[in-house]
């Protein structure tokens, strides 16, 4: 089998690139950083949104065990999620198992039919289209799956797997499918001559490349990558991440990057949304989330990641410890879903659900006591906006105001936590 190299470039160039990189002195390589492809992706606010998701909900019915099997409740897997995905950009979706991140991905690719909300893509609401109307649109939004072993049919050749979308959608004349398949295999760093082999002849990393080639077959504008590397060996993960970055650059594809690994999401996505029990609790650019998180759940998540640098000092690092498990999405806690495990929760949290409040140019957080670690305010910052007192009871003297940043994108004005005033860019 050929020596599989780092990224999407043809293998020859790859090897050259790698060996050049290694041979450079540190000064040279620092210069090189600016145009080198494999450092963390940067946010580009000038790009237009390609996908706008507004108040998306997916409620799975729970049936009773009685004679008639009535619907007795709903698993609110996704419960009012809004975000924007910009052209050629990447939004990372993180959270623990059961938070609804994968369901969100499947809703956007319409593998599920949303209960409510809209998915706006090129002026159309994908959430409202029937399966038949949807078919021609499917080519624009494709998916990369987690498990490269079970997501490829073992009885189909690589050529058949990668070529199937083109045949189904008739985007490429039959005679040229093979040529196109070989091109795609080359793009993902596989030997184009291997189109007639079967998936079991490939390693995990190579299989994931096959899955990526398939997802590229229809030249999509949006790729939903659901845990694309978590099933792979450590050294292979980086190969696939770099390949995805190259593809993003070369084809200008927007990524919804779903992962539980906070470090990988941080590297791949300049914008990150943190989900908990079906809702986005914090969303913002990389700096806001990783250096300036204002939601206690984000803070706890970040502090739970084991850190290699800890080797310098030895021992465990100080961390926010979350007790217990994520509550059941059938019957989530009232008010703020996170309050049962939250170290700073107060009375209002069980009464009023905190809105997703924009607190900086590109930073929104859903917490009554949004603050940096250890600086929780005495009184809920959201109370005046919601027209309630600090215990969550309606305040007759106050009137609810418009919530800054209430929508999928970011507003030009936001709520300044430091002064309790509206700020502006």
């Amino acid at each position: 089998m050929t020596d599989q190299s780092t990224g999407g470039l043809p293998a020859e160039e790859q090897r050259e690139a790698v060996s050049n990189g290694e041979a450079k002195t540190s000064a040279e390589s620092l210069e090189n950083l600016i145009d080198d492809s494999h450092s963390a992706a940067m946010f580009d606010p000038s790009k237009k949104p390609v996908l706008t998701v507004t108040d998306l909900k997916m409620h799975f019915p729970v049936k009773s065990s009685g004679l008639l099997r009535r619907t007795v409740g709903h698993v609110k897997a996704v419960d009012g999620v809004s975000f924007e995905l910009r052209e050629g950009q990447s939004l990372g979706l993180v959270g623990e198992s059961g938070c609804g991140k994968s369901t969100t991905g499947r809703l956007i690719t319409r593998l599920y039919d949303p209960t409510e909300g809209s998915i706006e893509f090129e002026g159309r609401d994908l959430a409202k289209l029937s399966q038949r109307q949807l078919k021609p649109r499917r080519r624009d939004i494709q998916m990369i799956f987690q498990d490269p072993y079970s997501s490829l049919n073992p009885r189909h050749t690589v050529g058949a797997i990668v070529g199937a979308p083109m045949v189904i959608h008739g985007t490429v004349p039959k005679k040229q499918v093979l040529k196109k398949v070989q091109e795609l295999l080359e793009v993902v760093g596989l030997n184009p001559e291997h189109y007639n082999r079967y998936p079991n002849e490939f390693s995990g990393g190579q299989r994931q490349r096959i899955g990526i080639a398939r997802s590229l077959a229809l030249q999509p504008k949006v790729l939903v990558a659901d845990e694309p590397v978590s099933a792979l060996d450590v050294s292979i993960q980086a190969q696939v991440i770099n390949l995805l970055q190259d593809i993003q650059k070369e084809f200008g594809i927007a990524f919804l990057f779903i992962a539980h690994d906070l470090a990988i999401v941080r590297h791949f996505s300049p914008e990150i949304a943190v989900m908990y029990l079906g809702k986005i609790v914090e969303i913002g650019d990389r700096e806001s989330i990783y250096k300036n998180a204002h939601h206690p759940y984000t803070q706890a998540l970040l502090s739970a990641v084991p850190d290699i640098k800890q080797a310098q000092t030895g021992g465990r690092r100080e961390r926010i410890r979350l007790e217990g498990d994520v509550p059941s999405p059938v019957n989530p806690p009232s008010g703020c879903h996170f309050r049962t495990r939250c170290p700073i929760a107060k009375e209002i949290c069980s009464v009023v659900e905190p809105p997703l409040l924009q607190i900086d140019q590109r930073h929104k957080v859903a917490c009554h006591f949004a603050s940096e670690v250890g600086h929780a305010p005495e009184r809920p910052v959201t109370a005046p906006l919601l027209g309630v007192d600090e215990y969550g009871a309606p305040d007759p003297g106050a009137s609810p105001a418009e919530i800054p940043g209430d929508g999928p994108g970011y507003a030009d004005t936001w709520y300044d936590l430091a002064n309790n005033t509206r700020g502006r860019a």
Binding site: K63, S65, G66, L67, R69
Partner: protein, 338 residues
């Protein structure tokens, strides 16, 4: 759980109604005149009409079907024609629910005939079931824990040999050699427990049950082997070994427990569909069970009996299915029937 059972039973009733409809339709489509066969040889045209009326064959299809369903639900009286019943009250036969029909040839209700035959077939089936389960599971485990060895190959080869022999050949061999020529066991003759006690019942069932069991044994050896091998490769078996459990405990408790689940399903369904195998066995050993009854009814074109047996077999399969599904919930705690 009970809601589930009730729901399944309701579906079962619907299935039985559909089954009667299909069975009726099939027999209606058959080229023979049921009244002629029911009346027997030397039957004059008038006698035939009387028989036809007595069995209701003169009525439209749907009426006959509805009547049959009514019999199943609440029972009915034969002859069906009210005038005939009034004319000869001493010849009226009541067929209690669930009434499977009336055989004019034998002047008996099908229920009576089944009641005579069913215990024989059931005895045969139960003894055979025990034989093939014990044999199948033991040999299957033996082969699995010695996978790849001579023992494994011997057992698997043996199952092939058994597969290769048709059931009637085994039955004839057992009867002619083991019983008649060598006299190892007495000639099998069905004896009720009430008559000869448990041992007489069992020893007389030995050969026919063995014939029937061998039909299934080979398959069960192979299935058990496969299921045990599969569960032996599971992570929890590694855990069991890592705990320091004896290998006997690991195989017979941990691995077999997991392999049992699919086996129970197979067993339930195979048990319900034993009738096919019983026909040959009962014929060779001249046991007057359901199999023989079917053959006889077929030879004499006794449609009423055939319809009754088909329905009975269908009901047994439906009930076995429900029982298996409910058992499943007990065997596998992860399965919630709802």
């Amino acid at each position: 759980m009970w809601a589930y059972v009730v729901r399944r039973c309701l579906v079962g009733v619907a299935l039985i109604m559909a089954l009667t409809l299909i069975t009726f339709a099939l027999f209606f489509a058959s080229p023979v005149d049921p009244a002629r066969f029911a009346c027997g040889k030397n039957c004059s045209a008038e006698q035939r009409d009387v028989t036809r009326a007595a069995l209701g064959y003169d009525k439209p299809f749907v009426v006959q079907w509805a009547g049959y369903l009514k019999g199943l639900a609440v029972g009915r009286d034969f002859p069906l024609d009210a005038e005939q019943r009034a004319a000869a009250p001493d010849q009226v036969t009541h067929c209690a629910a669930p009434c499977l029909g009336y055989s004019h040839l034998d002047s008996k209700t099908v229920n009576e005939m089944v009641a005579d035959a069913l215990p024989i077939t059931a005895s045969l089936a139960i003894v055979a079931l025990v034989m093939w389960l014990i044999g199948g599971v033991l040999f299957g485990i033996l082969a699995a824990i010695h996978q790849g060895s001579l023992i494994d190959r011997g057992v698997v080869g043996g199952t092939l040999v058994i597969y290769a022999f048709p059931s009637f050949a085994i039955a004839v061999f057992l009867l002619q050699y083991v019983a008649v020529k060598w006299g190892i066991v007495p000639l099998p003759r069905y004896t009720e427990i009430a008559d000869g006690g448990l041992w007489a019942w069992f020893s007389n069932l030995l050969l026919p049950a063995l014939t029937l069991a061998l039909l299934y044994l080979a398959g069960y050896v192979r299935m058990t082997r496969a299921f045990v091998l599969e569960s032996l490769s599971e992570d929890y078996i590694r855990t069991a070994k890592a705990k320091g459990l004896k290998s006997r405990t690991v195989v017979f408790k941990h691995a077999l427990r997991a392999a049992l689940t699919p086996l129970v399903t197979m067993t339930g369904l195979d048990f319900a569909s034993l009738l096919g195998g019983a026909i040959i066995t009962e014929r060779v050993f001249t046991y007057h069970g359901l199999g023989m009854l079917t053959v006889d009814a077929n030879n004499s074109s006794d449609l009423a009996v055939l319809v009754g047996i088909v329905l009975l077999a269908g009901m047994i399969v439906i009930i076995a299915n429900i029982v298996v599904d409910v058992l499943y919930a007990y065997i596998d705690p992860r399965v919630k029937v709802a």
